[in-house]
């Protein structure tokens, strides 16, 4: 049946349609869906639908021992799991008054930055794929795999490393690991010109990304947008520098910013961040051997660990933005309440709905991927 006949028979004469964008659309992330009302190909209203992934982390954590939760939390964001376990461990340490040995703090920085590089490589690939370019996606996944190899060597796990433990980290770097890390960093550096040629100077990509889904700095602040999306509007703010944790105040790195706040600017900020993470990792390779000492503070028997009553709010910078953990203990062996402020929860619901309204259908995936939303951080 021809389209106009179908319309005439089934709909009142109108140019407005409702379309479900996702959840199983290649241009949308994971289980997420957007219900959009379109007029022609322009979106006039949008509604985010959280879908169904693995929900109930916060409730599950109330039913598990403090130490068991370490294995649970990395699942909150698959592409960038390290910040979850680091932040949770930091919260428990603050409640217990534990001091983390300096070497463990360096090792945590190593893990966090490797995870950030891996997450950004993934995002570039996904973002490029929304414009029909699959080569950067394959490259991104392949290069990320080299980092997963390093994770496997360091922690035993490729994706969920479960490397942290309140008080420090589980194990020290194996022999020759820093050399292999250094080699991988050299390789990543050598790949950047390739990425520039393939993606960042690609006329199709640049034309599509420029001017798409712009956020002004005022809007970004009003909507509590954080991370690379905020820095793409020109505000130089990074939790690592402005509210430092671990040993970030001893490290030398820049905070890349861009002005326009559109999809293009957000991607460029991530590209800059990738370079800065490599720079941080080089400093870790150089300075870690000089930081001697234990990698873990003495902790009580993990299976009978009662954390003193109290509450704390820990926040760190993940690759998606600001990650906050509000942890309450009533002095028992399980957390009383854990609230996760997923970095994506802000820009994946309200900001996304706002940005796609007025955009065209073809730009939805562009906007979604350039915001770098991670759905499980929303439904937790």
């Amino acid at each position: 049946m021809r389209a106009e006949n179908y319309e005439a028979r089934n709909h009142p004469p109108s140019n407005e349609f409702e379309i479900n964008f996702g959840p199983n659309h290649p241009g949308i992330e994971g289980n997420y869906a957007l219900k959009v009302k379109v007029h022609g190909d322009e979106i006039v209203a949008a509604r985010a639908d959280g879908g169904y992934l693995h929900r109930g982390f916060e409730k599950l954590m109330e039913q598990r021992l403090w130490i068991q939760n370490i294995a649970l939390v990395p699942r909150i964001c698959v592409p960038d799991p390290a910040p979850m376990e680091v932040a949770y461990s930091m919260a428990v340490e603050q409640l217990c008054g534990l001091d983390v040995p300096e070497r463990a703090q360096w090792l945590r920085v190593l893990q966090l930055e490797l995870s950030r590089v891996a997450a950004h490589l993934f995002t570039f690939g996904g973002h490029a794929a929304t414009t029909g370019m699959y080569s950067p996606m394959f490259w991104g996944v392949a290069d990320r795999d080299l980092i997963l190899d390093l994770f496997e060597e360091l922690t035993g796990g490729r994706v969920y490393s479960i490397y942290n433990i309140p008080g420090g980290v589980r194990r020290d770097v194996p022999d020759g690991f820093l050399q292999r890390l250094s080699d991988t960093l050299d390789y990543l550096d050598s790949r950047l010109p390739d990425y520039d040629n393939l993606l960042f100077t690609n006329r199709v990509f640049v034309t599509r990304a420029k001017g798409t889904g712009p956020i002004s700095q005022t809007q970004a602040l009003e909507w509590s947008v954080t991370g690379p999306n905020l820095r793409a509007t020109g505000l130089k703010f990074d939790v690592r520098r402005d509210d430092p944790y671990l040993v970030y105040d001893q490290l030398d790195f820049d905070i890349p910013t861009e002005e326009p706040g559109d999809a293009w600017a957000r991607t460029l900020v991530r590209r800059g961040e990738l370079q800065q993470s490599v720079r941080i990792l080089r400093q870790v390779v150089e300075r870690l051997p000089g930081v001697a000492g234990p990698i873990r503070a003495p902790i009580p028997n993990p299976l009978a660990w009662k954390v003193p009553a109290g509450e704390t709010y820990v926040r760190i910078e993940s690759s998606k933005g600001e990650l906050g953990w509000y942890v309450v203990s009533d002095g028992s062996e399980k957390p009383y309440r854990v609230h996760v402020r997923g970095p994506s929860s802000m820009h994946a619901v309200q900001v996304l709905e706002h940005l796609v309204t007025g955009a065209r259908i073809e730009d939805v995936a562009q906007i979604m991927f350039s915001l770098d939303a991670c759905p499980p951080e929303v439904d937790r």
Binding site: E58, K59, L221, E222, W223, T226, Y313, V328, H339
Partner: protein
Amino acid sequence: MSETHLPVERLSIILGEFKDVRVRKRGDRRTRVDVEPDALPALLELLKGRSGFVHLSAISCVDWPDDDQFELVYHLWSYELQLLVSVHTRIARDPGVYVSVYDIYHPAGFFERDIHEMYGVFFEGAPDMEKFILTEWDGPPPMRKEFDSEAWVNDHFDWQNYRPDWLIELEQQGGGIVIPPDEQRFSRRGMQEPDDES
């Protein structure tokens, strides 16, 4: 006066205008403020307007059934003072109604919707109190302390004895899952079945 103390001093001066406000310094960049529920919106407005606490990081809800209260915690960050303030307030658990601060902080819309869904707290004046995740849920708010996930699962779902042919074969060779699902449950070990109680 060291530089890190300065923001807290300034904060104390501003908060001095309020009655019944307790300010506690928690760290170099962390401050806890306890306030009565009536005064909270005005306090947030003051913090945002006068001290640049423009960033609402999160709103957390904690259930205290023994006190018959919900605790709401508003985590605010000031880019200017580089200080994180957690404003705590407690509201009655029944009827569990509070005012929305969406007009002051737009991100509150998401957090309030989340808290409404998970705890059943209703925020008056919030733009959107629709369900987000639990769209097909008809039970009580699941994050409340009295909600027992295991009992809910046992009441609403049947345990399926999953035994395909390949598993039976495997078991005959001495492998597979040999403990039936009922006995796998930790909390059921040593528990009598309801029928046996009489």
